[in-house]
């Protein structure tokens, strides 16, 4: 079950990893190319995508004080180590 904005660790995979919906507490990211063919496979994928987007819309609409735009959070600065394999 894909629960939008509930964590940073869920990924909904549709048609293997043709399209991925990566959950996040501040943003959800869709990646890939989905071929919705006129067959059972296409329908299955279309339903999965629709359910995910419907859940995202419902979750956003349910929040009373939705900001106009969330602030971009800067990434943490990476650390540095000496390469032990050199």
């Amino acid at each position: 079950m894909f629960k939008p904005y509930s964590n940073d660790d869920d990924v909904l995979n549709i048609q293997g990893d043709a399209l991925t919906v990566s959950n996040g507490t501040t943003r959800i990211v869709l990646n890939g190319t989905l071929e919705l063919t006129q067959d059972q496979r296409g329908l299955k994928a279309a339903i999965a995508l629709k359910e995910a987007v419907d859940a995202i819309v419902a979750s956003l609409q349910a929040q009373g004080n939705l900001p106009a735009k969330v602030k971009d959070e800067p990434d943490a600065k990476p650390g540095v180590v000496q390469n032990p394999f050199q």
């Binding site: 869920d10 990924v11 293997g16 990434d75 540095v80």
Partner: protein, 211 residues
């Protein structure tokens, strides 16, 4: 590279994990035409997880990747897994490395797709994917100090075609990939591939279709 390594077997892929890099050194899979066809039908909500078989401190944690700026880049891809259990297991942090986002989402995705095409064309295909750690200093992410690879490799071996080669990409936002022979990759990566006949290790095919 051998100290603090552990073999982790999953239902349709296997990983050699390093407690030094806090990630995989390689992840190996056997692809068949039928399994790739089955994988294309998979719809599943997955969850990245820390493998409980690794002692504390050896594996990466979910917190390490949070706001790291890097994707959790699969080595054996989720899109090659042909059943629910295997797809869930591919989200083990022992099967991912910190990967440049654009690289993962564009170039690497296209390389994975072209390898699937090889498996669909020729059936039995053996694939090993892993990181390369090059240079005097390395970047790390998170409190565990997970090593960020400088490059990624993918080895493809098709016994029926007597074909073996590798693909190497820099772990940056790029559309460039290099085809290397298995011998060249062994020298670059420090990983040996004893399952591939020595007689095939100097082949260099032209490139990948569709990348």
């Amino acid at each position: 590279m051998a100290p603090k390594t552990r073999m982790l077997c999953y239902s349709d892929f296997a990983v050699l994990h390093s407690g030094i890099t806090h990630g995989p050194l390689w992840s190996a899979e056997h692809l068949t035409r039928d399994h790739i066809e089955a994988a294309k039908d998979m719809v599943r909500t997955n969850k990245f997880f820390e493998d409980a078989r690794l002692p504390d401190g050896e594996g990466a944690t979910l917190a390490d990747y949070k706001r790291s700026g890097f994707d959790r880049g699969h080595m054996s891809p989720a899109g090659n897994r042909w059943n629910q259990e295997a797809m869930a297991q591919s989200f083990s942090l022992a099967n991912v490395v910190p990967q440049n986002r654009e690289n993962n989402q564009r170039l690497w995705a296209r390389i994975e797709t072209s390898v699937r095409k090889i498996a669909v064309s020729y059936d039995d295909t053996y694939v090993v994917t892993g990181p390369i750690f090059n240079g005097q200093q390395l970047q790390t992410i998170g409190p565990t100090r997970v090593f960020v690879p400088t490059q990624l490799f993918k080895v493809v071996y098709v016994p029926s075609r007597q074909m073996a080669f590798s693909v190497v990409v820099d772990n940056v936002s790029t559309n460039r990939y290099d085809i290397k022979t298995i011998h060249e990759l062994e020298a670059m990566s420090g990983v040996r591939f004893p399952g591939i006949p020595e007689s095939l290790k100097d082949q260099r095919p032209g490139g990948l279709k569709g990348v």
